[in-house]
């Protein structure tokens, strides 16, 4: 653990500026993403992380679909200020337009996939580097949000694409999502986000 922490070094402000510019340029060009994902839910008291897998699709500006295929069938679509859930054939939806927390979470999920969440008004941001990869820590400033999420950690590859998202809860337990087989800007239609 100590070794892992030592391996992370703080970026200089020049390096941080360079990363931010690269990620923003990358995000602006990104109109669609599809990818596989593996999710690890870590609870300190468990012997093993709870692992689930599936496919993710994103379409500009704010449509996201997470489709879990293992070990259960479940999909959740964020679009038009609402959540659409298909839980193994049981469909439901939730209008979250009046719910500030959901609006923010939805925005953050979208922003974290694109990588572009460098908003100093919303977060205390720190820039780190480990094994040639950039890791950026975002600590929300909004106290309503900090009740749910203490920090987001995004890992970027050398092209400035998001490889992993870690959402840390106030208890220290976290959910880590690792994206793989990422494809950018392939054609996606609204039909890919039908409930």
């Amino acid at each position: 653990m100590v070794g892992a922490l030592k391996a992370q070094t703080k970026m200089t402000s020049t390096e941080a500026d360079k990363l931010r510019t690269m990620v923003k340029e990358q995000a602006e060009k990104t109109k669609a993403i599809t990818s596989d994902f593996t999710q690890y839910k870590h609870l300190d008291f468990l012997a093993n992380d709870i692992e689930s897998k599936g496919k993710m699709a994103y379409k500009f500006p704010d449509m996201v679909k997470w489709e879990y295929t293992e070990p259960f069938a479940y999909s959740i679509i964020f679009k038009n200020q609402a959540l659409y859930i298909n839980d193994d054939g049981n469909k439901s939806n939730m209008d979250v337009s009046g719910n500030k927390i959901f609006e923010q979470l939805n925005h953050l999920i979208t922003a974290s996939i694109r990588g572009d969440m460098f908003d100093d008004a919303q977060f205390d941001i720190s820039y780190l580097e480990k094994d040639g990869k950039s890791i950026v820590h975002f600590l929300p400033k909004n106290s309503q949000l900090t009740d749910f999420i203490e920090a987001f950690h995004l890992t970027f590859n050398k092209k400035g694409e998001v490889e992993a998202v870690k959402m840390i809860e106030p208890s220290g337990d976290y959910t880590r999502i690792v994206l793989g087989n990422r494809q950018t800007n392939q054609p996606l239609s609204d039909a890919d986000f039908v409930h």
Binding site: L43, F45, L46, A47, I50, S52, S171, Y174
Partner: protein, 202 residues
Amino acid sequence: MRILFISLCIFLATGCASYPKKNGFVLPTPAPIELLNPYFSDVSKDYVYKARIKAFDKSFGGIFIVKKLGEDHHRIVFTTEMGNTIFDFEFKNEKFEINRILPEMDKKVLKNILKRDFLALISTKPDIFEMFSKAENTLVAAEILSKKHYYWFTGEQLTKISRTAREKEKVTFLFSRINNNIAEEIRITHQNVKLEITLTLL
């Protein structure tokens, strides 16, 4: 008048019969059972279930996690499929602690229902006060939080727990697809509130 009297006798004889009697169980007591509920009793196991909850015409899902941390010590956590914690409860030496709960669920009535249900689910050795038998089946009466719970055994396998009030079933816990002391499917059904929890092992 006579018919009314006979009807009244029949009603009293059947309506007020004890829960075991109604279900055809009789004394004498069979051999004692060491572990009443084995399903969440192994400290080396992470018990992880996909949950489906139907409550008051609403239906939602999540991941239901149970861990035995020691003698009379369990942690029960419910999260969304995406990993966000909905509630995090801890049962230790009959003490119930809420480590975390979403504000929307932070209601006294709901918390009491969940506390009673989950304690019944994880209690391995509640206080036994009576036992009955019928052919190869055994019925064990025990008390949890001052409520009577009947444990149904087919042979040595626990298949159902019934919480009763005035000798009537109020809540049932059905255990099925049982392998190596793990119930792969558990259904908790309330008779007097619209609440049903179905757990499927992942």
